[in-house]
Structure formats: C-alpha cells, structure tokens
C-alpha cells in the first residue's frame, strides 16, 4: 500500500462513516477490521487502545449531557417530540461508534506507515506543493504544542503548582497549565518566526525536501479502495433500510 492509497482509503471511509446511520456502520467496521488485520497486524491492538483512550472521555461526556442532563436526543428536540433517555442513548452510541471508527482509522494508517518519517510520508503524496507545505506546518505546530505541554508540565511540577497524580491542586490549577502551555507555544513559534526563519528562509527549504511523489496508486491500493467503496455502498443501503 502507498501513502496515496492509504489517504484515499481513509477519505472514503470517513465520508461513508459521516453519511451513515447506526446500522450502516457495520460494513464499515468490517472493512476497518480487515484493513487492521491485513495491513497493520499486531500493532492494531495499540491503535484500538489509543482510539479507546481518546474516545472514552468524550463518550462519557456525551452520556452525561444527553442521557443524564437533557434526557432526550437532539433529533427528538428538533422534531418537537418528548423523546426518552433510550433515544438519547441510541444517539450517543451512534455518534461515539462513528467517531471511534474515524479515530481508529487514523491511528491504523499512522501505524501502517510507522517506518516512514512524517516528511517522507507527505513527500510521497500526490497533492499540490501548497497542500504538502500546509500539512508539514500543521504537523510542526502539533509537535510544538506537545513539546509545550511537556515544558509547562515540568515547570509547574517543579514549582509545586500541580502534582503528577490526581489531586485537588490539579483541579484548581489546571487552568494555569493550559495558560502556560499556550504562552510557551506562542513564544516558541514567535521566536522561530522572528529569528530563525527570516534569516534562513527555512520554510522555503521545504520545497526541495517535499518535491516528488510516488506513483499515485498501487494494485494493492486499488483493492482497498474497492473494498472501501463497497463498504460505503453497503453502509448507505443498510442505513436506508433501517430508516
């Protein structure tokens, strides 16, 4: 599989997931599991775990809001119906399953190309240079934010403002961590843009580094794109019948 094939596969799957109802997610999950088993292998378990770790807090939050507090689903509210906690639960389950599929898919694609560096993955894509540049700049911002979290975390721990484990102090001072992360990220980017980049024209160095790209699609890619298209079609049919 090539990076181009993986990105195209992911785009088809994500669009199908967004457009499908609860029943339509089944064929998409089948395609996802096949992709995990064939293309990724054992690392799929890590991808599943990570996706669960990302999704569980969000699902819990939605449960509290829609099932616990509101007591009916948004579709009930839109239709002016009384609704029920059961319909709210069905709504939350569908949204959570859809998001889990998308997050898991992104994780699986990342693991599939774990041996490639981000730059070589982006280089291989058949997209305009401006898009490649945008993707690299976005990834670098993500990296800066992650590093800022680490720096701010260390600073506040050393000062005793937060603790490593769960604590009341962390609850009351969590906002200081967020503020410090933002301050760190902003000043890091500012320093880079003010001093380093104008002297080197660093961003222009990306063009030769990102030039070129692999053949758009391999035979394996075509097979996976067909599988994604078939799963998407089956998903729409299942959703239509359920409706």
């Amino acid at each position: 599989m090539t990076p181009n094939g993986a990105v195209a596969f992911a785009i088809i799957m994500v669009i199908a997931a967004i457009a499908s109802g609860a029943h339509g997610l089944v064929p998409l999950y089948v395609a996802l599991l096949l992709f995990a088993a064939i293309e990724v292998g054992q690392a799929s378990l890590i991808a599943l775990r990570r996706a669960a770790l990302i999704m569980l807090p969000l699902a819990a939050f939605m449960l509290i809001v829609w099932v616990g507090v509101v007591g009916r689903g948004p579709q009930d509210i839109a239709a002016g119906l009384a609704g029920s906690r059961a319909s709210a639960l069905a709504y939350v389950s569908t949204v959570a399953a859809r998001l889990f599929l998308i997050v898991c898919l992104v994780q699986l694609v990342a693991f599939r190309f774990a041996r490639e560096t981000p730059l070589s993955f982006v280089r291989a894509l058949r997209v305009p240079m401006a898009v490649k540049r945008l993707v690299v700049l976005t990834l670098s911002l993500v990296e800066t934010l992650r590093h800022s979290v680490d720096r701010a975390h260390t600073a506040l721990l050393a000062a005793g403002i937060i603790t490593r484990g769960l604590s009341v102090r962390n609850l009351t001072n969590g906002w200081i961590l967020m503020q410090t992360v933002w301050l760190t990220a902003i000043t890091t980017v500012t320093a880079r843009v003010r001093d380093k980049w104008p002297i080197e024209l660093t961003v222009a160095r990306l063009d030769p580094a990102l030039a070129g790209g692999s053949n758009p699609l391999s035979a394996g890619d075509v097979g996976w794109l067909a599988a994604a298209a078939f799963a998407g079609l089956a998903s729409q049919i299942a959703s239509f019948h359920a409706a």
């Binding site: 560096t117 981000p118 720096r151 721990l157 410090t180 002297i199």
Partner: protein, 387 residues
C-alpha cells in the same frame, strides 16, 4: 571565507549586530540561536526529517561534522534532545546544507568540552563564512566586531543580592540505586547513587545527553524513577508523588520554568503553592520586589517574555535565590552571561553555601566552576561518580 567574532558584554548590541549583518548580506544564512526555538527548524518531527529539510546538493560536499551518532538517533524527536544535542544536530544539518554562511549566537556554550572543541575547530576550518558570539573564548585569528547599538542595561546589584540572601539549613540528600529510562527506551540511570551534602556546592558534569538535566527533573518531581530511592535528612523523599518541597530549580532555558506571563504572576503562583503546603516561611511582596530590583527588573509587572534572553536567564535565578527552598539547582546558569556576571554569580553561590544552602549546578563552563569551590559529580554510563 570570513570568520567574524562579535565581542562585547551582555546588552552591548552584539546579537542585534550579528542579525543585522546577516540581513544586510541579502542571502539566506544558517542560524543557530541560543535556544532550541532558534537552533532547530521547528518543521520536523524526527531527526531524520530535520536533516532532510536542510540537505543540499550532494555534488557540492562540505567538510562533514560528525560529533553526534546520527545513525542511532534518526527516529528521535529533535525537541526531546538535550540542549547540547540540539546544537550538535544543528551543526550536522548545516554541514550537509547548501548555505555558505553560518551564524552561532552563544549556542556553543551548551556543549561539553570535547564537542565544544570539535565545533570550534569545524567552524574555523575556513570552508564557509562564520559569524560567532561566545562568552567563553575568542577564537584566535578571527575578525573581531562589536555591537553598535547598546540596548537597555539590566545591571545586577550584586552587593544587594548578597546581603538579601537569608541563612538556610539544607538537609543531607541521598540517591540510592536510581533507575530511569525514557519511554523511547533510552536508559539514563541504572543503579546510580550519590550523596548530596548540605552547605556544599555540587557540580553535575557529563557529556551532552548523559542525564544531568534528567537528574534535576527527578529531584524536583517532574519525572518518576523506575527504581531506587531518594532520602532527605534520612527519611524517604518522593517528590514525584508528594510534590517538591526541598529544591528550587532554574532551568537551562529560562523559558522552560515560567509559571506566568509577568514576573509578579509567576512569583505569586509559586508562593501560593508554598502556602498550600502550609509553608510559613512566607516570601512577601517586598522581598520579591527587592530581589527583582537587585536583578535589574524595576517592576513586577514586567512581562517575562519581553525581556532580552540574557536578562530572562538572570531573572530565572530569582526563585532559587529568594530562599523558597534550602536546596538550589541551577542548570547551565552561565549560558549567555558575560565574564563579570559569571564571576559574581560564582561568588554569590559560594556565599549561599556558607549560609547553609545546598547548591547543585550543571555546567560545561570550566572557568565558572573553577571560581566556585565544589564537589564534582560525573554522570557516565548510567552511573554517578564523585570525582
């Protein structure tokens, strides 16, 4: 090829002169700033990508720079490297880039002795243009320039600072059987042990990436060891679980220690954390203002990030000096500081030891260390030995 050295003290305008020179040349130049934000490209997520971004035409080779085992580091994140390793990576990147000129602003001060000699020899090889600022050496035979537009001075009132230091009673600290590895598997400590004596200065030494900063982070509770124990006055001390209550840290990069946007905000948050612990040794506003003034900062409303880098570094010493904790830890305190400041700081730390503080400092600056009587603790092969 030109080799220019920008001489002068802090705030003499030498950094501005260096940048002006590069901009006036009208062609891009490779720039290694004092800290990571201005040393690495900021566009890469791995060492391999950092090198790829700067790679030039292989048919026009330049003398190689191979002070770093690049082959074993390609997967590592550039921002997770130690300060010295980042500078070495920057020099590696330059060595394979198409730039004709490199400018280095005090960055070589983060390198250990061996790497520093290697880097200076490389920069002086004559194969490309070099502009250099460094507080520790004036390379022989280089053209000397100086700053022309003095900025705002941030002079330190050393007598006031010295007289404001309050006596402390630091307690003995021991580390036994320490084990620590980063999530990427890199082992830093394996059965390391060391005894830290009160009223004594300890110098942590070791090659770039040996684990000096990691040890400081463990002692303030920012990292949890996988094995071993730390004791304070003979009792178990677990700052990674219970929080730091013994050590005041000034980080290598001052911007890695701020807890607020202004000096006043930073100090207030630190003091509030002390009060939450029931620390009755209150550091009041007047004392904070007194130390700030002595360090050249007139107002506590001063935005930390708006200060020049050398001034930020000095302000980063405020928390260790003010007496919040009996142990003070300074990570590369003399980076970017001129000779008079380094000398005065050494005397001040000596005074703190005499006043009962325990002092731990990390430095590659042998001249600075020679001015401050100390025990040398060397980190090598995951162990700490007393030299």
């Amino acid at each position: 090829m030109r080799r220019e050295f920008f001489a002068g003290s802090n705030f003499s305008g030498r950094s501005a002169a260096l940048l002006a020179l590069l901009q006036s040349a009208g062609v891009p130049a490779f720039f290694v700033g004092p800290y990571a934000e201005a040393a690495l490209s900021g566009l890469s997520s791995s060492v391999a990508d950092e090198l790829a971004i700067y790679r030039g035409d292989p048919s026009q080779p330049r003398p190689p720079f191979d002070a770093l085992p690049i082959g074993s580091m390609l997967d590592r994140k550039p921002q997770s490297l130690s300060g010295g390793e980042q500078v070495l990576l920057a020099l590696h990147s330059f060595a394979q880039s198409p730039f004709d000129t490199i400018a280095v602003d005090t960055a070589l001060e983060q390198l250990d002795d061996v790497n520093r000699v290697t880097a200076l020899a490389y920069l002086g090889c004559g194969a490309f243009n070099v502009a250099l600022i460094d507080n520790r050496v004036v390379p022989p035979g280089w053209e000397i320039r100086s700053g022309t537009s003095p900025g705002r001075p941030f002079s330190i009132d050393w007598p006031a600072l010295t007289s404001a230091i309050t006596p402390q009673r630091a307690q003995a600290m021991t580390v036994r059987g320490l084990g620590f590895a980063y999530p990427n598997g890199r082992q830093i400590f394996d059965g390391a042990s060391v005894a830290l004596k009160p009223a004594t200065a300890h110098r942590l030494s070791g090659a770039n990436g040996a684990g000096k900063t990691t040890l400081l982070k463990i002692l303030v509770g920012a990292l949890a060891p996988a094995a071993g124990e730390v004791t304070l006055a003979g009792a178990a001390y677990r700052p990674w679980r219970e929080g730091n209550r013994a050590l005041a840290l000034a980080t290598q990069n001052p911007d890695q220690q701020w807890c607020g946007a202004t000096l006043g905000e930073d100090m207030e948050r630190r003091r509030a954390a002390l009060r939450l612990r029931g620390d009755t040794n209150a550091i009041n506003d007047a004392r904070v203002a007194e130390f700030a003034r002595a360090l050249g900062i007139a107002s506590l409303d001063q935005h930390l990030y708006e200060l020049p880098l050398a001034a930020r570094k000095r302000v980063s010493w405020l928390w260790p000096l003010i007496g919040a904790h009996p142990w003070v830890m300074l990570d590369e305190p003399t980076i970017g500081q001129d000779n008079p400041t380094r000398e005065s700081l050494a005397h001040l730390l000596q005074h703190m030891c005499a006043s009962g503080h325990g002092v731990i400092f990390v430095t590659h600056d042998d001249d600075f260390a020679a001015m401050l009587p100390h025990r040398r603790l060397h980190i090598e092969n995951c162990r700490i030995s007393s030299l």
